[in-house]
Symmetry: C2
Subunit: 471 residues, 2 copies
């Protein structure tokens, strides 16, 4: 890892940094400005295989005004600024590629407002999704977007995250109503209000959602909320073939059954989950389902899906009706990433994230698994297949250049397979700096438009430089 | 109207126009370049009270390549370009404020591709929503977004349109997967593929959706499609008070009942509909409902809503179960605008379009109607109330400056009422040039960001100049 850290080229001069830090200490106090190596390293890495690239300093603001003042100070010295939520992203989003100051938003963890009657709320960017749902517990409402990790809602907005139940509730794209954003020149704007829909000018909310801190720093997020369904049930179904599982998904979606979750796990992933979570599911392609609605509609949906699954060679449904059974089932699913990593102690994950039209899903998954089988690497597959999104996780020793190169070659072939059929290189993880070459392959000339937008809003390239587009 | 046309200041010199038209005739042939006054006037007006402002010429391209070549030619001479779909917009979007060349996209009416298995399609921008649904008839699929008018899908994307069933299916924001766009310099980009979700870079699709032709000319649109529901039923319910109707809506939404449509019409609008469509509904606040789902779930939804309505003083449901009855009901609703205009022969409509959090809906509507009652004007109200969106239509003689001023004052107070409670000045019609002052009131400093984006993508301000932001 040491060599990889050395590749980081700071553009920050020592004197500029010291001058900026003096001002920041004056703004925030000594205790909220850190240059300790442990703190810097912690903020320079995410949960992926990407190497640690620590910033020069980390600051801990508590208000939008403090963020705006900190950005103004950093901008005056030309120092890069990297926003940080929980560090659970997967494409090097938080790496300080060019040095700079990381803005840790975890102290901005206040729930500003909940309006149960309007099914919306406003939170500071550092509030995590579990914190919000805990807070909402007595209101009968919940925030459904669930990327697995207990990520911050600002971070989820910044990466356009989604997860297991996007098939029903959409992604952060559909669920953010408005943002408070600090711009590169220190100005603060609100991108939208609380109206459910608006045609009032350019869609700044959607421009900032998914911009990964490169166009502005989100400090508050206004979100849609949903009523907790009257009835929820979940089930697991094992298939003799991957095609059978995928065809079940396709028919379910085509039948307009309003699934809350429909998740695919391959045999390798089921094996990993059994070992990690001490379970005894059959080691075979498996679908995890969740149904939301009234008692009657949940029953009807489940019957429809069971009939489809049986036609496609699905074994009997194992039901998880009680909250406790459901929690066990979805915890196992949420631990899939860590379960897979545990298959090979010390390994890190190179995670793919393609999303394709569902008619291409079976072919794309099959070819990807065949390609893996021909390699020397081990991997597991999970998919939010109702959306056509799946993750092949390649287990690698990041210190071994040959393994990394092999995983990157497998990944590259997978991405080109997805793009060729109208898909995307990333359904929900984002570009960071890990997927920049694929962005070009996917969007072509449109990347130059992204560059024009970046230049317009951050002419000095101080906001999370080196992510999404290189200037 | 003559004086209003005279206010238009063309920035196009005669010699530049002649040179550009020569090149355009070479590109498209004589028949597809028109300078006839009748053609120009037709393209310089929409369905609103806004005065006709004809372009200097109208062209009729048939391919993306022709649009790109035409934009390149116009840009070389600094001539404004205004895209035109069906002319059914309401905020002067098509008015040639500074002269220029209108690109009529109605010949771009090919359905490029339908993928029933993926529930998506790609159409040229001039295809109308009814044309698409006619084409889809045998596939079991439909495109739900329904703004009333048989608008072009490019125009609907450009104004971020929605309409009666956005409460279930979302707006154009949620239903456009990707666009082919010609930029101000003549380059063509694709903003997205066919993946249901993507985190690959800035959300260019959402940036162009709602940009009203000011950032690029859309030539193709990739859309989500939906399975035609197994069962559809509709109903009409009359209320003794407006509050009862609105409270029914709020409780229905809060109960997570997946309504397909839930429309409010006030007593004045019901009177207008009865006269125009020869119907005999009670002249009272009324909700129109539509339910989509399986036979069982539609029945369940309808029972739930009926119970809520009865609690709120709603009279008995009048059911419209057959296709014929439903068509009559929704045709009456769709004709609401024309029915209202017919209350005062020769009048034009000044249409408001605010959208507010639903908890504010009853107060906002009540105050708006009280304000109208104190005026000399006549007006009617319809609302896509499940989203908090409603239209107060003020009937005016556009030649009478006092009436126009009174309507504008009523409208202004309504907009500020909506913005004060977190709402928007326009839920679905867009800004055009009619609502520019309100955009500033609503978005404040964020408008300067919109201006930065416009400058970045259209530095010479040739794309539909004077709309959304003034440069």
């Amino acid at each position: 890892m040491a060599t990889l850290v050395a590749a980081q080229k700071s553009r920050v001069s020592g004197s500029a940094l010291e001058a900026a830090l003096d001002e920041l200490r004056h703004l925030l106090g000594e205790a909220r400005v850190s240059t300790a190596m442990a703190v810097r390293e912690h903020h320079g890495r995410d949960e992926s295989w990407h190497p640690t690239m620590p910033p020069d300093a980390v600051i801990f603001p508590e208000t939008t005004e403090e963020v705006a003042a900190a950005v103004t100070i950093s901008a005056a010295y030309g120092i890069p600024i990297i926003p940080y939520g929980t560090g659970t992203s997967l494409e090097g989003h938080v790496a300080a590629l060019e040095g700079g100051i990381t803005i840790d938003l975890t102290r901005m963890n206040k729930i500003v407002r909940v309006s149960p009657e309007d099914l919306d709320c406003t939170v500071q960017a550092g509030v995590t999704r579990k914190q919000l749902n805990e807070y909402l517990r007595d209101t009968g409402l919940f925030f459904p977007i669930d990327p697995g990790a207990d990520a911050s809602l600002g971070g989820m907005a910044a990466t356009r995250a989604s997860g297991t139940n996007a098939v029903r509730y959409g992604t952060m794209r559909e669920n953010v109503l408005g943002l408070t954003v600090v711009l590169s020149d220190g100005r603060t704007i609100k991108t939208g209000g609380r109206a459910r829909k608006s045609s009032a000018g350019y869609d700044l909310t959607r421009l900032f959602v998914g911009s990964e801190g490169t166009l502005g720093i989100m400090t508050e997020v206004t979100l849609k909320l949903y009523g907790i369904p009257e009835a929820v049930s979940a089930a697991v179904c094992t298939f003799s073939s991957l095609e059978g599982a995928v065809d079940t998904v396709i028919q379910t979606i085509q039948s307009s059954i309003p699934m809350a979750r429909i998740e695919l796990l391959d045999d390798a992933q089921m094996d990993a989950i059994n070992r990690y979570s001490k379970l005894d599911y059959p080691v075979a392609p498996t679908l995890f389902f969740e149904f939301h609605g009234t008692e009657a509609s949940v029953k009807e949906q489940a019957e429809q899906v069971r009939a489809i699954a049986e036609e496609q060679g699905g074994g009997g449904f194992q039901w998880a009706v009680t909250q406790e059974e459901r929690t066990r089932l979805w915890n196992a699913r949420h631990m899939a990433y860590y379960a897979a990593l545990a298959l090979r102690p010390g390994a890190r994950g190179l995670t793919s994230d393609v999303c394709v039209p569902i008619s291409e899903l079976a072919r794309c998954i099959t070819e990807t698994k065949q390609d893996l089988a021909k390699s020397t690497l081990q991997g597991t597959l999970v998919g939010h297949v109702g959306d056509g999104n799946f993750h092949m996780l390649y287990l690698i020793d990041p210190e071994n250049p040959a393994e990394l190169a092999e995983a990157e070659a497998l990944h590259e072939r997978l991405v080109h397979r997805a793009i060729a059929c109208g898909g995307t290189c990333t359904g929900e993880h984002g570009i960071g700096y890990g997927k920049i070459p694929f962005l070009q392959a996917e969007h072509g000339a449109a990347v130059s438009v992204m560059r024009q937008l970046k230049r317009a809003l951050d002419p000095s390239n101080i906001l999370n430089p080196g992510k999404i587009v290189r200037m």
